[in-house]
Symmetry: C2
Subunit: 407 residues, 2 copies
């Protein structure tokens, strides 16, 4: 007998029919003797409907009241799923975040979980009940309703799995697992049976939106095995663990990419200590997130400083940078918002040399010019012109033999 | 400085515009220096939408989960109203039934309030905040969400007013007060400035649906002055108190009526002790509510037994009664589902003789045949053919001079 936490997102519970389908899936596992805690999101569209009501009334809704409002979305789903389970003779009991209780800090709309009380859930599980929990929500020490912010339901699932020491936390989504790359770009992309937390974090942060980064971090921190599966079709999905695939492991697990990049360069900055912070300080103050950063010293004691930002922030960042350029006596600001980032990710990289040159060679052979390079222990990212995105992904997928099974 | 509890029903908060209008009304009173607790229902249509979702899944939804589901309706409204108040610089804080907390028994879908914790509300009121409370809902001692059943938001308003010893509880509705009778039937119907709890109870139980009986009983029990007012137009409404109108008081306060009646008679029942319970027992077991009961002894040692039921229960009751007829060796069952009940209500009746004969005379003069009569200390009801309803109401309204001001 195993204890699993299942999490179903908004699309999976988007109608009463889909909620009934989720109930059937849960019942199969329950009948097989598993203890189950099921975390659900609001029905798709519901959270947006509620936020629209709030914005009708306040352009900047009160954060406390917004949490009172949107938390009703998941509360509706838990009640309906518990009913659907009881209807097919699968005993169930619903819990709001407050009822569990999932104690959080008081940062409305982006609260952090502090602790989880297992007592009620343990009691229900021991009685053979399926425990249905509202994702995304908690309660602060004064009894105020809080929500966890983006990806909050995944976080709830992982946190419950950690608290209950569940065997696995299953995240049901509209994809059937984590792929070597986006199948819409490379049809030969293959589902991975396993991936490590670190690889998953790099994949997620590089634009593979299967899971929210925060829930993967959380799962990694508490060593909760995560499995990504499809709500709509059968299959084992992809298991995310600390365990590596062993001796035969592939060098590279996947190719991630991000279309939303733009790069900015400030040329000819007089090279003095503190230049980087003078350039990036005003950018950070404007709440613009900087991704890659590259600095080169030129011959003439000036430096060229390049960084990338989200494409939506490009114009704003450029305006700020032009002001900084004048202040620092730099030569000029250039930029490009038609670039993309392509990355290879794999823990195998740690113990194998030559990965970078294989990557650069493969791209060069296809005539793809690399505009920036950034590396981490388990990732190499390059910035290329956006017109090369698909070609670069397919080239690297082939170069690292990702279409071959690694198991 | 007075402390008021205001209650706004579903129609009054049926859209974001109406919620903003309620906020404006509340702010005027708050700015005048009053301490305010505002109880709200779900936006009109919302509770039905939620119940429809539940019925999609379970024909008989689990009572516990139904309460989890429908309680989200009021939770949405409290958040939106608190936002609307904050938007116009009127400090406010929302509370679910659980957050107040309104402790109830565990009878899901029809829970009874056991106690109310005033501490949080008192603190907010002392800080000058408007306290916005979700009507219709509470929490049992195990933290399960409960709802109070029909008219539950009125009950919440009265219970909060009792707990806080409020000066008055204002029930805002779509009518501007309690009338001497239904103005759609008698255009000369006049709004009453005052009415006693007992009169209001009789009026409500006789089909004047301004307030739910339960909330009036509750207000009477705890001596909470209730005021019925319109959400949409100005006016003092009708005050419901123990106080009578004094020496000059009218004999009769109003004419109530009920169109939903049907009557059933079992003729020629051998008259033995226990006959009444043998007849009504099976009716009660079928959960059919009996309203008026009349029994006459005939000459031949048999009795005719007549009672009224809700028109929807007529066929079901008749079938049961026919079985009883055979068992008791009675002669036959007759019935009529085209009857109505018309009643005069007034505490003045207690101290004045001749009210009944005035009533019967007036009806007789118009050729209206009385089929049944039932009386209480402050009410006389007659059953007449449904075609006479409007005529009977107008005749009695005139006979007791209800179109003349009583103040």
């Amino acid at each position: 007998m195993a204890l699993y936490v299942y999490k179903f997102g908004g699309t999976s519970v988007g109608s009463t029919e889909r909620i009934q389908a989720v109930a059937e899936k849960v019942k199969v596992s329950h009948d097989a003797g598993n203890q189950l805690v099921v975390v659900v999101s609001a029905m798709s569209g519901e959270t947006n409907r509620l936020i629209a009501l709030a914005k009708d009334i306040q352009s900047q809704p009160s954060a406390r009241e917004l949490d009172v409002l949107v938390s009703t979305g998941e509360q509706v789903t838990i009640a309906l799923l518990a009913m659907a389970l009881e209807e097919i003779n699968c005993p169930a009991r619903s819990y709001t975040g407050n009822q569990v209780k999932i104690l959080t800090d008081d940062s409305y709309t982006k609260a952090r979980i502090l602790s989880i009380d297992e007592a009620n859930m343990r009691k229900d599980l021991a009685e053979g009940k399926v425990v249905v929990v509202a994702g995304f929500q908690g309660v602060d020490e004064n009894g105020n309703i809080t929500t966890l912010g983006r990806g909050g339901s995944d976080t709830t699932g992982v946190a419950l799995a950690a608290a209950l020491k569940a065997d696995e936390c299953h995240i049901y989504t509209d994809v059937d697992g984590v792929y070597t790359t986006d199948p819409r770009v490379e049809p030969k992309a293959r589902r991975l049976d396993k991936i490590t937390f670190e690889e998953m974090l790099e994949m997620a942060s590089l634009g593979s939106k299967v899971l929210q980064i925060r829930s993967v971090e959380f799962a990694g921190k508490y060593n909760v095995p995560l499995r990504v599966l499809s709500s709509f079709k059968e299959g084992a999905g992809t298991l995310i663990t600390y365990e590596e695939s062993g001796m035969e492991s592939a060098l590279i697990s996947g190719i991630a990419f991000n279309r939303d990049e733009a790069k900015l360069t400030i040329n000819g900055v007089p090279d003095k200590p503190g230049v980087a912070s003078k350039i990036l300080g005003p950018i950070a103050e404007a709440n613009i997130e900087v991704d890659m950063i590259v600095q080169n010293i030129a011959d003439d004691d000036t430096t060229d400083f390049t960084f990338t930002v989200h494409r939506n922030d490009y114009q704003k960042a450029k305006t700020i940078l032009e002001k900084t350029c004048t202040e620092l006596g730099a030569r000029k600001v250039t930029g490009d918002d038609t670039i993309v980032k392509v990355s290879i990710v794999g823990v195998g990289m740690r113990s194998h040399a030559g990965i970078a040159s294989t990557m650069f060679d493969a791209l060069a052979k296809e005539g793809i010019n690399i505009k920036m390079i950034s590396t981490s222990e388990i990732k190499i990212s390059v910035v290329v012109d956006e017109k090369y995105l698909e070609l670069a992904v397919r080239t690297l997928h082939k170069a690292f033999e990702l279409d071959q099974s690694n198991s």
